[in-house]
């Protein structure tokens, strides 16, 4: 195990570094990375067992840094193996000043690159600056590992309207239609901007969002946010399938990072799709799905399995033995009824039923305490990345909303769609740059 952290440990972002930020932490400053270096061995071992970070998976990189590269062809946090924790925020612009928004995007990018590598918002930001000033970094992540933090940025169609950039609107960035039984709350829906923070440690994700929100005061304001725990899908073949709060494995047939051809077909926007600045990007569909946990828990196991179309223990399609066995939708039982019911979730959401539609799911469980009436305010924060929401999410959700028996146990109360631009592979490039050029 090398004692030397990789060069990415303290990035020197070329995009407009904040004032007083140019000096690397070679002196007395405390950086999360350095603290992590001291405790590296213990953290790495702990990390390898549980929710292994990206760095752990990339064993050839040496020690387990838990650092997901910030700059790449695509944004991190999409096909990155799903971390265990989420803090998602939707923001609205509080200005129509394009220059102010552009400046914020640059500053956000700089801070995000630093934080995802395990650094502070600014070098020495928590305790090393003027004691008469509030610290520029809020400090609650000091001493914590980078924790595979990814920050994924998206913009809503409403931002383009507010900044007079409607000519930049990609054809795929649609407003979702109303689906049957939708109970959408405006205070949990929409937004001009989204930032998705995923990490192995919840405090690292919360720290990142809190600091980015703070940097935005005066230019952006929070519209809504969502904390999530327990990934409800696998985005890598290296990951075991996780369970949702109904106790079922979720995401068995998800698109995986190891399937580049399928990702190009179903996830990554292409230049030919009608928007140059989105080539290599993708569209994020978020739905807050409240689950009526107490009702579900009073449902027989047999009924639960029929609603889902899979066994609860193994996660196998009904009629099959193992989780990854192919579902036989034509199989009939001795009663002449389909083994996998016509109105089961698995059947309705399958590519077969949807003429080949697939999506990359990246959702999280949530429990926002109780609802004041004694029931858990809990459910699934559904996040999907798709190349075209109108062609992928809409037909899928339309079929589910009308026919899925599961609908009796759930309620969609939040909804949003964002365009997530391609990754920042060019040095010095910043989030949303394509909007301003």
């Amino acid at each position: 195990m090398s004692e030397n952290p990789p060069d990415t440990s303290e990035p020197s972002p070329s995009a407009a570094p904040a004032q007083g930020d140019a000096t690397p932490t070679t002196t007395s400053g405390v950086s999360r990375r350095r603290l992590f270096g001291l405790a590296g061995a213990g953290v790495a071992l702990a990390g390898a067992g549980a929710a292994a970070g990206y760095g752990v998976a990339e064993a050839s990189a040496g020690p387990a840094t838990g650092v997901v590269p910030f700059r790449d062809t695509h944004q991190a946090g999409i096909v990155t193996p799903a971390q265990d924790r989420l803090h998602f925020v939707a923001l609205d612009l509080s200005t129509t000043d394009k220059a102010a928004v552009q400046d914020l995007f640059k500053r956000w990018t700089d801070a995000a690159e630093r934080m995802t590598s395990g650094g502070e918002v600014t070098v020495n930001g928590a305790v090393g600056l003027n004691p008469q000033s509030p610290p520029t970094d809020t400090g609650e992540a000091l001493g914590l590992a980078p924790s595979s933090l990814t920050l994924t940025f998206g913009i809503g169609a409403s931002l383009l309207t507010k900044l007079g950039l409607t000519d930049k609107r990609p054809p795929a960035l649609i407003d979702l239609p109303r689906f049957t039984a939708d109970q959408l709350e405006p205070a949990r829906s929409g937004g001009d901007i989204c930032i998705q923070a995923c990490a192995d440690d919840p405090q690292v994700g919360v720290h990142a969002i809190r600091n980015l929100v703070r940097m935005g005061f005066g230019t952006t304001e929070v519209r809504w946010s969502q904390l999530g725990f327990g990934r409800t899908s696998s985005t890598s073949t290296e990951q075991a399938t996780a369970r949702n709060l109904f106790g079922f494995k979720d995401g068995t047939n998800n698109l995986k990072a190891e399937e580049p051809a399928l990702l190009d077909e179903h996830v990554w926007a292409q230049g030919a799709d009608g928007s140059d600045w989105m080539a290599g990007g993708t569209y994020l569909v978020a739905r807050r799905i409240r689950m009526h946990i107490e009702i579900w828990d009073r449902t027989s196991l047999d009924e639960q399995e029929k609603v889902i179309g899979r066994t609860k223990g193994e996660g196998a399609p009904l009629g099959a033995k193992a989780e990854f066995d192919t579902a036989d939708f034509s199989a009939q039982g001795s009663d002449g009824e389909p083994v996998i019911p016509e109105d089961s979730h698995v059947r309705l959401a399958s590519a077969q039923a949807l003429r080949g539609v697939q999506i990359l799911r990246r959702g999280y469980n949530f429990v926002d305490g109780s609802d004041g009436a004694g029931h858990l305010d809990a459910g699934l924060f559904f996040v999907a990345f798709v190349r075209d929401p109108g062609k992928q999410f809409v037909p899928m959700q339309r079929a589910l909303a009308r026919k899925d028996t599961l609908t009796e146990y759930i309620e969609h109360n939040g909804s949003a769609v964002f365009a997530c631009p391609p990754g920042l592979s060019a040095p010095g490039s910043y989030w949303g740059q394509g909007l301003f050029t």
Binding site: S94, L129, N130, Q132, S133, P134, F217, G218, T219, E221
Partner: protein, 379 residues
């Protein structure tokens, strides 16, 4: 009232040693020449006899020919208050002498009804008064300037609270209700200074559910607020009113000796916005009268006065910060004007969740740069 324990009790002792830029009633330099500049204030106009004066001590004679109580201000850049006279009753005249050492463009303003931005006009100061300006001088001028502001607010707080107290004692409930939020305005503008005297604040501005030492009763503005709006005047209401006036007089005496540092000024400005964010946006402070928006406005004005006093230093250390502060203060003012009703504001209970969210966002946006000021002036 703030729930925070005063972090630093201001030095109450020797008066500020540096009195550069003071307001006084001493003869002014320009008094011998063309005499004082006269200001004829009416309910709609602010006629200033001259729009220019040489740098140095400038004297204004303000006559309120209107029917509303008025105020007169001389502002520098960023609405820095160079000098002001508060609470000029109808038919009354007051004199203001203000020292302006630097030439440039300033602004005169009358505020009939003591609301809004007032009737404004540019005012040119020519030349510059000879003096050596170093960093310490500028900081000393900032604290002295804010001290003048505190004095002017206390100068209005005492008679305005007396009017409120008199109305309570006369059992004139409607008049007392109308005067309640107005008299509090002067208190709310300088609250961090008042709070620095830890024993005064609970007596004047304590809330019913605050923890008190045994034998200490619920007194002050909020006790009378409850009497006026909820329970009806009580047998001891007149005594409570007298007690409030006595406590205000005590405060006025003590503020004469208060000495402020630039950091305290900057932090006071931030604390006023903290007050807004924790007490006013929740509608918690004026829970019986729902006149929270008056307090909201006053807190913001008080914060701006402290920041404006520091403005020359801020501009020197961090030019961009000054411009951001101007813009954010303007945003909050503009938002508040949406809730204006006559000379006052709508009741807080008439606001919906969306209104409150907008206010939270505007105060967050303002409080962030204000929180940078203490660091900027000590950099």
């Amino acid at each position: 009232m703030s729930r925070r324990i005063p972090a630093a009790v201001l030095t109450a002792g020797a008066a500020a040693a540096v009195l550069a830029g003071c307001t006084s009633t001493a003869p002014a330099d320009n008094a011998g020449g063309g005499g004082p500049i006269t200001v004829n204030a009416t309910d709609t106009a602010c006629e200033v006899s001259s729009t220019t004066a040489p740098a140095g001590k400038i004297s204004f004679d303000i006559t309120n020919a209107g029917s509303k109580v008025t105020e007169f201000y001389l502002y520098g850049e960023g609405d820095r208050i160079m000098g002001e006279v508060e609470n000029i009753g109808a038919g009354l005249s007051r004199n203001l002498i203000v020292e302006v050492p630097d030439g440039g463009t300033y602004t005169t303003a009358c505020k009939p009804g003591m609301v809004g931005d007032g009737v404004r006009a540019p005012f040119t100061v020519t030349g510059s008064a000879a003096r050596q300006v170093d960093q310490n001088t500028k900081l000393a001028e900032a604290t002295a300037g804010y001290k003048r502001y505190v004095d002017s607010q206390v100068g209005a707080l005492v008679p305005k609270t007396q009017e409120f107290v008199d109305a309570v004692k006369a059992k004139n409930v409607e008049q007392a209700k109308a005067l309640f939020p107005v008299s509090r305005t002067y208190w709310e503008r300088i609250e961090p200074v008042a709070e620095s005297f830890g024993d005064i604040d609970p007596k004047i501005d304590g809330r019913e559910d605050d923890e008190r030492d045994p034998g200490v009763g619920f007194t002050g503005y909020h006790r009378l607020e409850k009497d006026l709006w909820v329970t009806g005047l009580q047998p001891d209401s007149p005594a409570i009113a007298d007690r409030l006036q006595a406590d205000i007089a005590d405060l006025a005496n003590r503020t004469k000796t208060v000495e402020l540092t630039p950091v305290q000024l900057a932090n006071g400005a931030k604390e006023l916005l903290d007050e807004v964010a924790t007490g006013k946006i929740t509608g918690e402070e004026d829970r019986y009268s729902h006149t929270d928006l008056y307090d909201f406005k006053a807190n913001v004005e008080g914060s701006q006065a402290a920041i404006s006093a520091l403005r020359p230093v801020i501009d020197e250390r961090n030019k961009a910060l000054g411009a951001t502060l101007d813009a954010r203060f303007a945003d909050v003012e503009k938002l508040l004007e949406n809730y204006r009703q006559g000379d006052g504001f709508v009741l807080y209970t008439s606001l919906n969740e969306d209104d409150k969210k907008k206010m939270t966002a505007a105060v967050d946006a303002l409080a962030e740069p204000v929180s940078q000021v203490a660091g900027a002036v000590t950099a």
